[in-house]
């Protein structure tokens, strides 16, 4: 089947999509956006987190056909040209990236948290990121990065 949807502000059309295919597969293999990572395929790890109509979801659990006509925003759509989003900058500066596999999902999920909550408490950060696993276990630096991004975003408001 054909699936037409908007990704990062651009209309995309994928043909010959299998009906059981996930949005994640379409993004990575058909649209050429490999930022969202494919790890667990069961919603356990959060590496494929994207915005679907403004709500963070695991792209591996969205059937491709369910994205028809919808708005998707991936990690590739957060930067403005060469200017990284404050969340991305904070992850780089805090050393919150080790192997990097969990990073895109964490960045999208953090981006959503900071859109909703100005200065999240540590408990709120942990709760928001509970579904994003880092197998390098670099959680302390990840928390540092979220706090740094929150401060910077709050300062520019």
């Amino acid at each position: 089947m054909r699936v037409t949807f908007t990704v990062n502000g651009r209309e995309e059309c994928a043909d010959d999509v299998w009906e059981g295919e996930s949005l994640l597969y379409v993004l990575r293999e058909r649209v050429g956006l490999p930022g969202s990572k494919n790890a667990c395929e069961q919603g356990e790890c959060g590496s494929c987190t994207v915005y679907l109509d403004g709500t963070p979801v695991c792209a591996c659990l969205v059937a491709a056909g369910q994205a028809e006509g919808r708005q998707v925003r991936t990690v590739e759509g957060l930067a403005e040209g060469d200017r990284l989003d404050p969340v991305q900058e904070a992850f780089v500066e805090s050393g919150a990236v080790q192997c990097g596999f969990c990073t895109p999902g964490l960045i999208v999920q953090t981006h959503d948290l900071l859109e909703r909550v100005d200065r999240p408490s540590d408990a709120e950060i942990r709760e928001a990121l509970a579904g994003n696993l880092c197998r390098c276990t670099g959680y302390e630096k990840i928390l540092d990065a979220v706090r740094l991004a929150a401060e910077r975003k709050a300062a520019t408001r």
């Binding site: 089947m1 299998w18 009906e19 059981g20 919603g43 969205v62 056909g65 509970a130 579904g131």
Partner: protein, 286 residues
């Protein structure tokens, strides 16, 4: 495989009547896992995300009608006051991403004994509204809905439309055992709901039997023995825990042993009843 996309409830019922083998999909948090892992290859997927009414809830005569596709996130944000047990259970589902997509309707459709919403639905006395094109509407009490492991009273041509719950008239609590605080499929779980008007306590056991179930003997015991104007008698509390544990018929599996589950059900039963009783008596637990 086919991909069916009804945009109204009637279209959805027609699609299900014509293709009983079609697998309904809403948030995909169960269905897509099975497809991704090649556990299931339904002849068709029936996408319900384009039927807007399923995502809405309403209040009719003191009764909440929660559309099958109302997300756990929405239940937490909008229904914590009137439906505290269900909202507490919703908070323990998966992760924020999963709660944004998952719904009580999906939990019911999957009918896993470990589904988090089942115990509070049982304890609160929820009724499930299902419908088919040819058979019309059926209102099924939650305790008659679960028939076996991942089997429910839903007929092949029926779809789950909504869940009906009375606004809580007393404290409700949910408790769940797992290896961490998030992303956990229940080792076992327990829900309690006080119904002071009827001098009745509702219960719900999760992941402790082939189906979610009530602890009927324990409920009956409290109906006889509970003094609603007094402190909770420790002997009554202890017996309640024992009877709830006895209501379980768990198995050994990768998440835990049967013995552990039976024990944990007793502990959670005592704890949740204590919390609820403290609230009811106007005290806060220390």
């Amino acid at each position: 495989m086919e991909f069916l996309r009804p945009t109204t409830w009637d279209e959805a019922l027609a699609a299900k009547a014509d293709r009983p083998g079609a697998m309904p999909i809403q948030g995909g948090t169960d269905v897509m896992v099975e497809i991704n892992f090649d556990v299931r290859r339904p002849e068709a997927l029936l996408d319900l995300t384009r039927v807007p009414e399923l995502r809405t809830w309403s209040l009719e005569d003191g009764r909440y009608r929660v559309g099958a596709a109302v997300s756990y996130t929405t239940i937490i944000e909008e229904l914590s006051g009137p439906l505290p047990g269900l909202a507490q259970a919703s908070r323990t589902v998966g992760s924020p991403q999963i709660r944004n997509r998952g719904s009580v309707g999906g939990n019911l459709g999957a009918a896993s004994p470990a589904g988090d919403s089942h115990p509070p639905l049982l304890a609160a006395g929820a009724v499930i509204e299902v419908e088919s094109r040819d058979g019309g509407v059926r209102m099924i009490p939650a305790h008659e809905f679960y028939l076996g492991v991942k089997r429910s009273a839903l007929r092949p041509d029926e779809l789950i439309r909504a869940v009906h719950l009375e606004a809580a008239t007393g404290p409700q609590y949910f408790s769940k055992v797992g290896t961490r605080n998030a992303m956990v499929i229940a080792v076992c779980s327990f829900a309690v709901a006080l119904h002071p008007g009827e001098r009745r306590v509702g219960t719900g056991l999760g992941s402790a039997a082939p189906t979610p179930r009530r602890a009927l003997e324990a409920e009956e015991f409290l109906r006889r023995e509970l003094d609603w104007s007094a402190r909770l008698d420790p002997a009554v509390l202890k017996r309640f825990g024992e009877l709830c544990a006895r209501a379980a018929s768990p198995i050994d599996d990768v998440r835990g042993t049967a013995d552990y589950r039976r024990h944990a059900i007793g502990v959670m039963a005592r704890r949740t009843l204590t919390w609820a009783w403290n609230d009811y008596r106007g005290r806060r637990a220390a």
